[in-house]
Symmetry: C2
C-alpha cells in the first residue's frame, strides 16, 4: 500500500541478498524509518521487540531470517539453531512456526551449497503468496461490505481491532484487505480504529496506514467499542487472527473477545480475516493455544510524541503498582459470524474450515 | 482513607468557610497536591476538567459550590446562576443535579441573610451522608466477598473499572467500599484494576489509592478483562455508577458494558455499588441517559511521568487522525447480578429498587 503516495511493502530483500529491509514499526506513527536486518539474530530481535508484528509478517520475517542464516552458515546445525531461535521469539502466532517448518522442509533436503539461493527464493515465495492470499481475502470481504452498503445505502461503518492491515502482512493486510478492496471499488466506508492498549497498534499503526492510504477512519478507546455498537454505529467488525484452531476458535490481540461479545449482543456481524497459514489444524480448539505474556512495562508505560516532537515514554501508573500483560485472548468460534479466507468465506467450525481446506 | 498513612477526605471546607480544599486528581498518581476552591466558578471548573470526579464527589463539590456562591451573593438570582453553571459542567452523573436541587430546596425558602451558614451546613451534611452511605455499601458488599472467600478458601479476585474508590466520593468509595471493608476485616483479596482509557482513572487513581491503603492489586489494560475471566481469574466484578435508572440500567464509565458482557459469558457475578443519590427514578430506563462526549484529545494524547520525572502529555495517534470520545456507556439491567446500595443488596430491576426505596 502507499506511504507518502509510494507503493510500499513491509519487508523487502536487498537486490544483492545481503539483508532485508523492514519498516521499524515501533517508531510509527511518529517516525517512518527503514531498518536493515543482516543476520537471523537481527530478524529474531525485530520479531521479539515488535519492529515487525502481525502473524503473516512475522512468518515472512522468519522466512527471511532463515535465508539470512544461510548467508552465514547453511549447515544443518546452523539452520536448526536459527530455526529454534526464531520460533522462540513469540509463541502465539502460528505463522512463525509454519514459515520456519516450510523453510526447513525446503532447505534440509538440499546440499548446503544449494541452500542459500533456495532460501531467498522460498522466503520471497512466502511473501508473494501472502500478498496473493490477502488480495483474495480482500475480494471476498469486499462483497460482504458491498452487501451491507447496498442494504444500507450509505457509508459502511467497519470496526477493527489492533492492526491487521498491510503493516501486519507483506501487503494489503488481512482484516483491512476487504476495507482497501471496498475503498478501491468506490464503496463509501468509515473505519472505527480501537487504539488497542497496551501497545496501541490501532492508534499507532492502523490509523497511520489508513491515513496514508486516504481511508476515512476514527480512533476510539478500546472501551468505546460496545457503546458504539449499542448506538447502531457499527455495521460489521473485521479482525485478524494470530491463530485459528481446527474448530474455528480465534486467538487474536487481547480485547478481541470483548468486541466479539459486544457484536453478538447487538446483532453486529463479526468476521475474522484469516489466510491459510494462520490456521492450525493440529490444535482441536483454542484452549491449547499458548498465550504470550509480555512485559508489565507495556502496561505501566506508554510511548508517544512529546511537545518537543521527541518520542518519549511516560509512566502511567504509581510507582510499585504491579501490572499483568497477556497479549492475546481466544474468541470462541460460537461468537464468530464467519472466517474470510483466501479460499472464500466459511463458518467458524471444523466443517466450515474443512470445506475450504480438505485434509 | 489514608494518604501517606494519614486519614484523608477528598474534599474539606476550611474552618473559616472561605473555601474548600480538594485533591487535584488530574495530577495523580505522580503528584499529590491540594487545591483551594474559593468561588462557585472554581468549583465548576474543578468538576469540568475533572480535578474532582466520580458521581458522589461531583455532587459534594456542587454542594460546596453553592455554599461558595452564598459567600459572594446569596440572592435568588445569584444562586440560580450558580446552580445552572454547576449543573451544566457534566451531564451524565445524576448526583450533580441531585445535590444542586437539594441545596436550592434548602436555601431558597430562607432569607438571604440566613443562607450562607445554612449552605455550608447542608453541603457538609451531603458529605457526611455520602460517607455513611459508602460505609453501609462497604458492609453489605463485604458480605458478598466473605461468602466467596469462604467458598473458595483463598484470596478473592475482585475486578473493578475506572475509579469508584474513595477518590470518587468523600471517603470509602462505592465500588471499593466493599474492598476496603473486606480488607479491614482481614479477608484476603486482590484487585484487578483496569486502566480505564482514555483518562486512565484505574491506572492513575484506583491503583494509587489501593497502594496508599496497602490493598494488593494488579493493573491491566482494559482489553485484558475478558481473558482473565475466561481463565477463571476473576471471582466477582464490582463497579460504581454515574446514574442508575428506575429499571436498574447502569450508566458508568465507558467500557463497563464490555466487562458486564464478559462477566455474563463466564458466569462471574457483576455487581454495581450505588448510593441512593445516584439512582434516577425519573428515568424509566438507560436509553434516556445523556452520554457525555468529551474532547478527542483525551484519546489522541495521554499524560504521564517522563524520564525526567516531569508530567508530560504525549501524542499517541498520527497527525490528522480524528478520534471520538464518549465518556460513558449503559449496561442493561439484565447483565447486572445485583445493586449494592446503602440499604442492602437488591436486584437490578424496578421491583428490586422499589423494595429498598419505596416511592
Amino acid at each position: 500500500m502507499r506511504v507518502h503516495g509510494i507503493p510500499t511493502r513491509t519487508i523487502q530483500p536487498l537486490p544483492d541478498g545481503s539483508a532485508v529491509e523492514i519498516i521499524d514499526q515501533t517508531l510509527l506513527p511518529h517516525r517512518y524509518e527503514l531498518r536493515r536486518l543482516a543476520t537471523w539474530q537481527a530478524a529474531a530481535e525485530a520479531i521479539a521487540v515488535m519492529r515487525v508484528r502481525g502473524a503473516p509478517l512475522i512468518g515472512a520475517t522468519a522466512g527471511y531470517g532463515l535465508a539470512l542464516a544461510c548467508n552465514a552458515d547453511a549447515a544443518d546445525a546452523a539452520l536448526h539453531a536459527a530455526a529454534a531461535g526464531l520460533v522462540e521469539t513469540r509463541p502465539t502466532a502460528v505463522n512463525l512456526r509454519w514459515a520456519v517448518e516450510r523453510m526447513l522442509a525446503k532447505l534440509l533436503p538440499l546440499a548446503p551449497g544449494q541452500r542459500r539461493e533456495a532460501a531467498w527464493r522460498e522466503a520471497a515465495a512466502i511473501c508473494e503468496e501472502d500478498v496473493a492470499q490477502n488480495q483474495a481475502i480482500g475480494r471476498h470481504g469486499r462483497e460482504i461490505i458491498r452487501t451491507i452498503h447496498q442494504r444500507k445505502g450509505g457509508a459502511v461503518n467497519v470496526m477493527t481491532h489492533c492492526n491487521a492491515g498491510w503493516l501486519a502482512t507483506v501487503d494489503w493486510g488481512t482484516a483491512l484487505a476487504p476495507v482497501y478492496a471496498a475503498f478501491e471499488a468506490g464503496l463509501a466506508l468509515d473505519v472505527w480504529v480501537s487504539e488497542t492498549r497496551p501497545r496501541n497498534q490501532g492508534a499507532a499503526l492502523t490509523a497511520w496506514e489508513l491515513k496514508q492510504h486516504g481511508v476515512p477512519h476514527t480512533v476510539i478507546a478500546d472501551n468505546a467499542a460496545g457503546h458504539l455498537m449499542q448506538q447502531g454505529k457499527v455495521d460489521l467488525v473485521i479482525v485478524g487472527a494470530d491463530r485459528v484452531t481446527a474448530n474455528g476458535d480465534v486467538a487474536n490481540k487481547i480485547g478481541t473477545y470483548l468486541k466479539a461479545l459486544a457484536a453478538r449482543d447487538n446483532g453486529v456481524p463479526f468476521y475474522v480475516a484469516v489466510p491459510g497459514p494462520t490456521i492450525d489444524f493440529r490444535l482441536t480448539d483454542g484452549a491449547g493455544i499458548p498465550i504470550e505474556q509480555r512485559a508489565a512495562r507495556e502496561v505501566t508505560h506508554i510511548a508517544g510524541r512529546d511537545p518537543e516532537s521527541e518520542v518519549t515514554e511516560v509512566q502511567l501508573t504509581p510507582d510499585g503498582s504491579p501490572a499483568l500483560n497477556p497479549a492475546f485472548d481466544v474468541t470462541p468460534a460460537r461468537l464468530v459470524t464467519g472466517l474470510i479466507t483466501e479460499r472464500g468465506v466459511c463458518a467458524a467450525s471444523a466443517a466450515g474450515l474443512r470445506g475450504l481446506y480438505p485434509a
